[in-house]
């Protein structure tokens, strides 16, 4: 469903990704983990068609990707600015009109679940509530690919919990694939099917999480520590 083939990405002199190949199939929640600046965000942006590979190819459902892959990809940015002149309800309406696959009833359900006031002004929304709104807008689409860049970062535990619960409740795992970047692994460890570790722009491991526990008797954190150590030595 998502295919990266020998992808390199350079920004000026800095190399963000090197020779990344990935094949991800639907029906899974996949965690992309690594330190800050390791290339997690760039990977998501490449799949969303918001940046373009310097070398190699990126495909979603067999189609080469550019910006307009937005019709098949729902992308949650780590940034959270929306149009300040709209309130929560109007922002949801705007998204519903922009994306043909946007399910307004589902959006309403998620909004209620997240306890967001539809009349709240965007400018006055707390960071936590902006994080929740992002979840509403991203998950309300009946779209094959969902990409979430640091959905939990900088939010307090209550919000993080509501977001994790939102993911469990509203992702349609029969039809969707979800790729989440995070450096807060503990929080979402139990909802991941697969984990991909990335370091300095290279993929250094890709595992089924349950398999990891069966074969190596390790959770994600222990596994990460062990492969990061191995890389250094």
């Amino acid at each position: 469903m998502i295919e990266l083939e020998n992808v390199n990405k350079r920004f000026m002199k800095k190399s963000a990704l090197q020779d990344v190949s990935l094949e991800l199939t639907k029906g899974k929640i996949i965690g992309l983990v690594g330190e800050n600046g390791s290339g997690k965000s760039t990977t998501l942006k490449l799949i969303a068609g918001l940046v373009h590979p310097s070398k190699g190819s990126v495909k979603v459902n067999g189609n080469p990707v550019d910006r307009r892959i937005a019709s098949q990809v729902s992308y949650l940015s780590e940034l959270d600015d929306y149009y300040g002149f709209y309130n929560v309800g109007q922002t949801i309406d705007f998204f519903a009109e922009q994306f043909a696959d946007f399910n307004k009833e589902k959006a309403e359900e998620i909004r209620a679940f997240m306890k967001l006031d539809p009349d709240a002004k965007l400018k006055q929304l707390s960071k936590g509530n902006r994080g929740r709104l992002k979840i509403v807008l991203t998950l309300a689409r009946e779209v094959p690919v969902i990409l979430m860049d640091e959905p939990l970062s900088g939010l307090d535990p209550m919000v993080r919990d509501s977001i994790v619960k939102g993911l469990i409740s509203f992702i349609d795992l029969e039809h969707q694939i979800v790729l989440i970047t995070t450096h807060e692994i503990k929080e979402i460890e139990t909802i991941l099917d697969e984990v991909i570790a990335i370091r300095d722009g290279r993929i250094i491991g890709h595992h089924n999480v349950e398999q990891l526990r069966i074969e190596e008797n390790q959770g994600i954190v222990e596994w990460m520590t062990s492969i990061y150590d191995r890389e250094i030595h």
Binding site: K45, L50, H52, R67, Y83, E97, Q98
Partner: protein
């Protein structure tokens, strides 16, 4: 509402302050003109002068409008670009919003001009000599056409600016774009002096006789004026400019879809 209409509505909403500022400035200027002109008994003339200036300046209206709009999006490109609509629709939504705002502004400044001109003393002399309806229509139309024309050049160079932004900082990108703009204007100027350019544009001449003047000129001794009274319009130059603008517009859309990065 379909996606394009909803996007245009968003652009209008986003451009609301940009729409209001010139109108407020115009109202203040008209008030000032009325006050200072009124002291010398030429209030209507002063307002008319302000209105003429305001209407003329609107050839830059869309550049002004789009500059604001695109700058606002540049701060949240991930939001603007994450949209299934093709680039031309996204740019067209901005242009449409700009054009709606411009026509509304043009209506306000234009109507003020007509009303003030009609109560101005000199209008009767002018009306005797000139066909003001023709001139007004011709100028108004061209203000809009030139504004659209310039705005597309602007959008084209703005997309290049966004591309440069991936590689250099904001200031350096601006400078590079500006230099590129200067060089291409210079080269274009050179090209427009060539015979090829002339053969591309100088065809389909339409002569609009008696377009400018109302006064009937006798044949004796007024040949100079008769010559002057004919407006030469070349269909070729309009078509040529239209084609250039289309090419630039689609190049800009292509860059937006394929090259611009968050």
């Amino acid at each position: 509402m379909n996606a394009f209409a909803s996007l245009t509505k968003k652009e209008l909403r986003m451009g609301m302050p940009v729409f209001l500022v010139p109108i407020i400035i115009f109202i203040v200027a008209v008030a000032a003109a009325a006050f200072f002109g009124g002291r010398s008994g030429v209030a209507a003339e002063a307002i008319a002068a302000v209105s003429v200036a305001a209407v003329t300046m609107q050839i830059f209206y869309l550049i002004y409008y789009l500059n604001f709009s695109l700058k606002a999006e540049k701060k949240k490109l991930h939001l603007w670009l994450h949209n299934p609509l093709p680039g031309y629709s996204m740019l067209l939504a901005k242009l449409s919003a700009g054009l709606i705002s411009m026509l509304a502004t043009l209506l306000i400044t234009g109507v003020t001009l007509i009303i003030s001109a009609q109560s101005a003393g000199f209008i009767t002399h002018l009306q005797n000599d000139f066909n003001l309806t023709n001139i007004g229509f011709f100028s108004g139309l061209h203000v809009v056409l030139i504004a659209i024309d310039l705005s597309i050049y602007f959008v084209f160079f703005y997309m290049i600016y966004l591309l440069f932004n991936r590689y250099f900082g904001g200031f350096l990108s601006f400078c590079s774009t500006f230099v590129l703009f200067g060089v291409s204007t210079y080269l274009w100027g050179k090209f427009s002096e060539t015979a090829i350019h002339r053969s591309l544009t100088s065809w389909g001449e339409i002569e609009l006789n008696g377009f400018v003047f109302n006064r009937k000129f006798e044949n004796n001794g007024f040949e100079f004026f008769t010559e002057f009274d004919t407006v030469h319009v070349f269909l070729g130059s309009y078509l040529f400019e239209t084609i250039i603008v289309f090419i630039l517009f689609f190049a800009a859309s292509w860059m937006l879809d394929r090259k611009v990065e968050v």
